[in-house]
Symmetry: C2
Subunit: 428 residues, 2 copies
């Protein structure tokens, strides 16, 4: 095995500049929701160069919306194609899905960026721009891994199904569409930015909205009203209680270094309309983490119970109940057995390339892995070169070295998982 | 004295329909800020009919803005004239300002109104429409009182200075302009909607804005951030403490039936931008009541001290201080000695008309009385026929009976205060 590892390593070293060029081209396409087509065209062209079987299609929103786990603010995916490129195996090996998403979150306030948000600027061993870490760097690692395998003349037994999907940042409709199109495999890897850690488990998440009612009055006679700002305090406290309870139950060692494994985050608050009126309505919006070993339905039930306790325990709320709504995004949690062979194969490849054991943790955020594992029944692991510390932030970047090292680790993983067809191998 | 009281009473009874017509005409003019001219034209025409000396002018915003108590979102008062009508006395009597404002607050959501917001509909002894209570009913009471005095042939020694001002709802620039134009008197009455109570003292108020800073992070790793929603709780608690302290000091018996004499009302809260992000900023806006016996400067100092204590007592706030801002509206508190002759004269007139002692209280809101008393040095009392329970609300109305009774009480008050010039009296 060692001889091709060296060849792959050397080939990647030589191709470093081409890999960087591919990444900057992808970053320079502002592939926010609805604007993914040009970035996908670059991916398609690369797949064509690699001789992959190519499948390009626009997800069918009308059909998708019937699925219970369809989450998206839109059902029209015109000009938002999914791309799949298949490296067909010779047969008899395990198949593997390589999943990455092409959509990026908006750039936010342009003033906070040192360079243009989609510059693809190269500075100090890093490529800068929205999507560099999340997750075009991971896309390039996949494509470099496949190119390296082909370049060194290896033929695989199992199929490798590379997926460049839309819509991950909005709840996974792109990956859901790929699953419903029939793409299955014996395992899947997602190169979301784990900062080179292995995440066999990923936290899911749900968005909630809670509305608290009060009674309006003039601020000068505020005692004649009921302040929704006063009343929301009890709700915030109960949410903290619920978070404590839920996290006390998390004993998975993968969470041992994480102070709050499944947080309940209140991200937004808005209430009242006039400084000198008693506010009769406050709305909070937040994100509830879902543990890898629970379902979104279980998590929802606990929150609903918490709200019903609030509504029973307070005189005002008994007649003016707090309202709970699930809205917006949702990511299913995902979990693969730590002893699953895919984890072992990836960890082994990591060790061979890096000379050390990888960090194995649970992720604090959801990915399309929840859909792949829960809907597609495909064992899924998340591992990628970017870092969430810069994802969704101004001046997002990726370290070029990590992108190349990840490509090498992925190449070895693919080879080990899908197996070499010795008969078909052109070099030895 | 009794003979003219009876004549005034009978005259008002006969003129009831004319009074109602004047009110509906005024209510039908939507005299929100910037749109006061047509309603003022009706007032001017009435003053002309009454033979008053008329002064009409647009306040000079550029000059007003230099005054420390000038509060308005605008400095251009084109087409927003103040109107003054003087019933000149024969000399030797006390002068009296009759102050009412012509501007109304916006109608709010039209769907919540049974009739059109500016219908002037007459139903069940009430006239409906924005401004009926606050305070076009009070304006009509003044004008009817003056008309009655003239109708029964009384000539007064003191001057009566009727003022129909703009801009009360935005902080009093109209009354400030009248004071700075030189209008002075030995006393002033404002017919704000007191529901026929006497308010010798009025609470002032200040608007404040407090900004609380946090530190953003992804909701899935919320422990890496500092939630401004969490941190604002301490600020809300300290504001409640401050309110308790300030109200514990209020021992004035005029406040004995008011559970919180000078409330601190938090009317608005807004923070965070994304459900799954830790909010790094929360802004609250509110109204601070100012006691009649304190200045706005004293009240501001207490709030500023409270915020500095918050900033010193919390580790996070030491490096990320809470910010306090005074913005928007401000009403000066106002206070007249309960033994001032104007209170006695008004209470006496009330008793003669209603056959009972009036309720004397402190008002829970500010009026232009603060400017009249503090800037103009004019002893001021607030008494009017409308009710704040419906002011600023949909389906605002005024009871026609009260408008007429108030006119009678005001007529007697004016006569007693300004004194009859017996030589000039045409009827006896």
């Amino acid at each position: 095995m060692k001889h091709y590892q060296k060849m792959i390593h050397e080939w990647l070293n030589v191709q470093r500049k081409n890999g960087i060029r591919l990444l900057t081209q992808l970053v320079q396409q502002a592939s926010t929701q609805g604007n993914e087509a040009k970035a996908q065209a670059i991916v398609v062209e690369k797949c064509r160069q690699l001789g992959l079987e190519i499948d390009i299609w626009e997800p069918d929103g009308e059909k998708l919306r019937e699925h219970p786990y369809f989450i998206s603010p839109r059902t029209d995916f015109s000009n938002s194609p999914n791309v799949v490129g298949i490296l067909r195996g010779t047969g008899g090996g395990r198949s593997l899905i390589l999943n990455s998403h092409i959509d990026v979150v908006p750039e936010g306030e342009v003033e906070q960026w040192e360079d243009e948000p989609y510059s693809g600027a190269i500075k100090g061993g890093k490529v800068y721009g929205r999507g560099a870490s999340d997750m075009k760097g991971g896309t390039v690692s996949f494509l470099l891994a496949l190119e390296a395998i082909k370049a060194v003349g290896i033929r695989l037994k199992g199929d490798v199904i590379f997926q460049s999907v839309v819509e991950e940042e909005s709840g996974g409709a792109g990956t859901l569409a790929a699953i419903l199109r029939g793409y299955k495999a014996d395992g899947a890897i997602i190169t979301e930015p784990t900062n080179m850690k292995l995440f066999p488990k990923q936290q899911g998440s749900l968005w909630f909205r809670i509305t608290v009612h009060g009674k309006s009055a003039h601020g000068g006679t505020r005692y004649e009203g009921v302040s929704a700002i006063e009343k929301v305090k009890m709700v915030l406290e109960q949410l903290q209680e619920l978070e404590l309870e839920r996290n006390a139950r998390v004993v998975d060692p993968l969470f041992q270094h994480i102070s709050i494994p499944v947080p309940i985050n209140v991200g937004k608050i808005e209430g009242g309309t006039w400084p000198s009126s008693v506010p009769d309505r406050v709305v909070i919006e937040g994100r509830m983490g879902v543990a890898p070993n629970e379902t979104v339905e279980m998590a929802k039930q606990e929150m609903e119970h918490c709200v019903s306790v609030i509504n029973q325990s307070d005189n005002w709320f008994q007649t003016h109940p707090v309202e709970l709504e699930w809205f917006g995004a949702q990511w299913l949690p995902s979990s693969i057995d730590e002893n699953h062979p895919l984890v072992a194969v990836l960890a082994d490849a990591y060790k061979r390339v890096k000379g050390e054991t990888p960090t194995v943790e649970a992720s604090p955020w959801g990915t399309d892995g929840g859909l792949l594992s829960q809907v597609g029944q495909i064992p899924t692991i998340v591992f990628g070169p970017g870092t969430t510390a810069v994802a969704h932030h101004p001046n997002e970047y990726i370290e070029i070295d990590n992108m190349l090292i990840a490509a090498e680790i992925l190449a070895l993983t693919i080879i080990h998982w899908c197996e070499i067809d010795e008969a078909g191998e052109r070099t030895s």
